[in-house]
Amino acid sequence: MNIEKYIEEFKEKFPDIIKAEVVNKKRLMVYIPKSLLKDITDYWFTGLQYRYIIVSAMDSKDGFELIYHFSDDRTGWVMSLNLMLSHDNPEIESMTSIVYGIEWIEREIMDILGVKFIDHPKPNRFLFAEDWPENEYPYRRKIRQEDR
């Protein structure tokens, strides 16, 4: 697979992407604005038939970072979409309408980071016990939480 050519064509198709880089051997990371998520997910998952792997979420300095991982099993490349949500208003559209299996991980991210997924079919608590405090998210960095 010629990755330079792939990136070029990809950028032509979606001119709004911020950056696309090869992070390691056979690993591509595409940095995108929030608005592009649905289109690219649809293109990769439905169009190119990439396999959905998982969503990694983390709290970084500039905001909540969500990384959607897909895998192209014909070539062995892992393709990731990286997008940033602001700390003040962490909201993103749910991808359950395209990827059925994404339901669990979105609920999990709601629990651990407090990111809101709009139009999620079942936004209930996923991991924690019934008596877990309402606004406590263990994966948020502590220092900033105290700042607020």
Binding site: V23, N24, K25, K26, R27, M29, Q49, R51, Y52, I53, I54, S56, A57, M58, I67, H69, S71, D73, R74, T75, G76, W77, V78, S80, V99, Y100, G101, E103, W104, I105, E108, R125, F126, L127, F128, A129, P138, Y139
Partner: protein, 409 residues
Amino acid sequence: MGKKTIVPIGPYHPLLEEPEFFKLYCDGETVVDMEWETGYNHRGIEKICESKTFEQVFYVVERICGICSTSHPFAYANAVESIPGVDIPVRAKLVRSIVGELERVHSHLLWVGLAGHFLGYNTVFMWAWKYREPVLDMFEIITGNRNNYAMFTIGGVRRDVDADKAAKLLQVLDDVKKKTNMLIGAVMDDPVFHARLKGVGVLTPKDIHDFGAVGPTARASGVDIDIRRDDPYAAYEMLNWKVITAKEGDIFAKAEVRLLELLESISMIQQCLELLKKEKEGDIKVKVKDIPPGIGIGHAEAPRGEVFHFVKSDGSNSPVRHKIRAPSYTNIPTFRKSCIGGTISDAAIATAAVDPCYCCTERMTQVYDYNTRKRILNAAELIKLSQKKTQDIRDKLNLSSSTDQTWKV
């Protein structure tokens, strides 16, 4: 619609964040809907990993799941070693593959046994677990422990497989291979297994893609994916083997894929041991000074499917973020497709078919639904139902009974 009955399956399940409690909503014998609840087993491993050093994380991730205690370190090693771009010695690659494949042998044997138990074939359960014991003994000889092997480290492995151990391992493998062949014959030619498992819990390739299911679950539906071949790591490029697939997507196909994979794994270990003779003994590790800032994405093929690890490093000595995805995380939601529309007695084996570390079934407890006061079956009754159905089929086929109905969990 008649009276709805709730059948709980759960609540405990031992993988990372995926212990669950299934509620089957049943109308008569048919499952009409299901619901799940998780988090019983959530141990916050990803958070714990962030407080450990890169070396220590190995021993945390191998405790995610007792049966996959090589697969998680494998994927983690692939992820972490890709950040500085370490190339490990060939001998270390071979040892890694040996341990990984031995684990697949013991895990698949375990599954065959449990599947047999759910169907009322306790002989299969006892046999498969008896043949699994020599494999665990080999683990003890090679790694020092029956489970949780602590073999991996950054840049290689911690213990070598020397000539003595290799010879012993070859002997055991010959024996296991004979027994496996016998087991395959017993299962594949059994008319009851055919009648009971064919056409039950079918998953189409589209279902597999929708849910992102992996491993034998996907391969049994004709989806030809295997990380060992698609994105080779360790020694898998050097070996001669093939990916086993089946077309039907039912439970019988899943059993078939797993049983035939056993033989492939055994042959892979034999090839590794042969290649090991050419490498210098003791050359099992390269020194890795530190992990530079960067992102590492690694995956590995566990007995149940792809294990995925994402590691972010900021140049310090512990990961900033460590995301783990175990195969059952995407395999388990497929129950929605495989169970709904089937009968309750098929639900037990349909859930067992994706191998969600099902030894946890032994821990199903009776749960009372205080709000609705609906009638609830417990685990033992559910398994009994499944076993009874097998018995009925057997009676129909005029076979003599060998089921020990009094043996229950």
